[in-house]
């Protein structure tokens, strides 16, 4: 029994060395991880910026359009709302892989940096989902908060920024964290546009070593550890933000 176990360990060690250490193949994973994290981080930032702006425009429309005086302001908010809606419909109505291919081969065909294309593609995609998350957060804040801000003399944008968004952010944090985790894993599709991200790196090692289990499991474990780490991090942030609720 003991000898079989030690035999297994020896085999495991040999396989591990053959697959990851020989020819420095672990570098595929290391570099792939870098690509995955770069795309996740920057597309998340881009998605947050797009998402918050779209959410504010949409929520402003939904909350105010019926009480506004006819005029240029009302026309403007109606137009921006319509544009935002088209954006949401198109992005949420088509597959991310397809959007990436279109960015790669049609819209950004002259751009050489594929990581940049992936960031823009994934970021614009994430923005649509983050926008709806933030909009629900903004709509859930009692209108009295808005009135209190305005009655003190804050303008619309200041009230949003100082009073509504901090509360909305706290409310949507769990959903936002979920979106972030989805984003991290969804970047795996950038293999389609010939990027060597973490998943693709695992695939390459399978092709070089004719061993599927170990590289793929290694990739899975790396994703899992990252997701668990971020979940833990968000938990801390949530507890800190909740300190005002005792």
């Amino acid at each position: 029994m003991l000898s079989r176990l030690s035999e297994w360990f020896v085999n495991f060690r040999n396989d591990f060395i053959r697959i990851f250490i020989v020819d420095n193949r672990w570098r595929y994973l290391w570099n792939g991880l870098g690509v995955t994290l770069t795309i996740t981080l920057f597309s998340l930032l881009m998605g947050l910026v797009i998402g918050i702006i779209v959410a504010i425009l949409r929520a402003s429309h939904d909350k105010n359009v019926n009480s506004m005086r006819p005029g240029p302001g009302r026309a403007l908010i109606k137009t921006t709302n319509r544009i935002c809606k088209i954006y949401l419909t198109v992005i949420r109505g088509t597959p991310l892989v397809l959007q990436l291919l279109i960015f790669w081969l049609v819209i950004m065909v002259s751009v050489r940096d594929i990581v940049l294309i992936a960031i823009v593609g994934v970021g614009i995609n994430a923005g649509a989902y983050i926008a709806e998350i933030f909009r629900s957060g903004i709509m859930s804040i009692d209108s009295g908060q808005f009135e209190a801000g305005r009655s003190l003399g804050f303008n619309y944008v200041q009230t949003m920024w100082h009073i509504i968004l901090p509360q909305a952010f706290k409310n949507v944090l769990p959903t936002l964290a979920n979106e972030f985790i989805v984003l991290l894993k969804e970047t795996a599709v950038v293999g389609y546009i010939s990027l060597q991200d973490l998943t693709n790196a695992g695939h390459i090692i399978v092709g070089r070593t004719f061993n599927a289990m170990m590289p793929l499991f290694a990739v899975a474990i790396i994703y899992l550890v990252m997701v668990m780490f971020f979940t833990w991090l968000v938990g801390i942030l949530e507890r800190r933000l909740r300190s005002s609720e005792h």
Binding site: S151, G153, H162, P166, S244
Partner: protein, 247 residues
């Protein structure tokens, strides 16, 4: 009493649902500096809408409002500047739950009046001292009782040094035993000479503190008089039957 007119409304109308509901149906009124105007009337009579129109939380359908001689209903007027001079207190307090009491009170003076943190804090503590809550400066609103919340809401508005304070049923969502502490703060404020417009169901307060009382019904000011006159010798049938129910 000075005759300096602080707020004037002319033929103020507010319709909801495309004119089906006439919340305000032609209000002509004046509020003079130093006055405490109390607005009473049955629910749905337009009292709150009237008050909320004064700082344009509701945009009037028709008519004009001038504040300190400026036509604030003119779309070209920057209402944000004038709102800084009109403190407002709400039925549901509307403190900012994600900020401490101190931050609630100092954010507007710091961001809007350009006051330093020290200046804003000094003013805030001075006011907290006056209502006996200086030990709760770092508490969050959820840790306060209803009466404490409303007192903080009042002094939050005072931190902006307003020229008029608007009260929208400030005691209506309080437990009965907490109404007194809020009314006391308001009485003190009136005594200090603050111009106030108060929508309330507290007839005792109207009598004791009010310099003038508006009785509203169906979007109109039906009667307007000194509290003694209005409460002891009502002229209209509607006021008579209203007083019979509430007193």
């Amino acid at each position: 009493m000075s005759t300096d007119v602080l707020i004037e409304t002319v033929n103020l109308k507010k319709y909801f649902q495309k004119g089906e509901i006439k919340a305000l149906d032609g209000i002509n009124s004046q509020v003079h500096r130093g006055e405490v105007v109390v607005v009473v009337g049955p629910s749905g009579s337009g009292k709150s809408t009237f008050l909320r129109c004064l700082n344009l939380l509701e945009i009037p359908t028709e008519g004009t409002i001038s504040f300190e001689g400026v036509g604030i209903t003119n779309p070209k007027t920057n209402i944000n500047i004038h709102r800084q001079k009109m403190g407002m207190v709400f039925q549901h307090f509307n403190l900012f739950p994600h900020m401490t009491v101190l931050k609630n009170m100092t954010i507007a003076p710091m961001k809007l009046l350009g006051k330093s943190k020290e200046e804003a804090n000094r003013k805030a503590f001075e006011l907290l001292e006056r209502i006996g809550l200086s030990d709760r400066a770092n508490a969050y609103p959820s840790q306060l009782s209803g009466g404490q919340k409303q007192r903080v809401a009042i002094i939050r508005a005072l931190c902006m040094n307003p020229d008029v304070m608007l009260f929208d049923e400030p005691t209506s969502s309080l437990d009965p035993e907490m109404v007194g502490e809020v009314l006391d703060v308001m009485k003190q404020l009136a005594k200090d000479g603050m111009t106030m417009v108060v929508v309330t169901h507290e007839m005792g307060f109207a009598r004791e503190v009010g310099t003038r009382v508006f009785f509203m019904d169906y979007g109109k000011i039906v009667e307007e008089n000194s509290p003694e006159e209005l409460f002891t010798s009502p002229k209209s049938e509607r006021l008579k039957s209203f007083l019979a129910k509430v007193i």
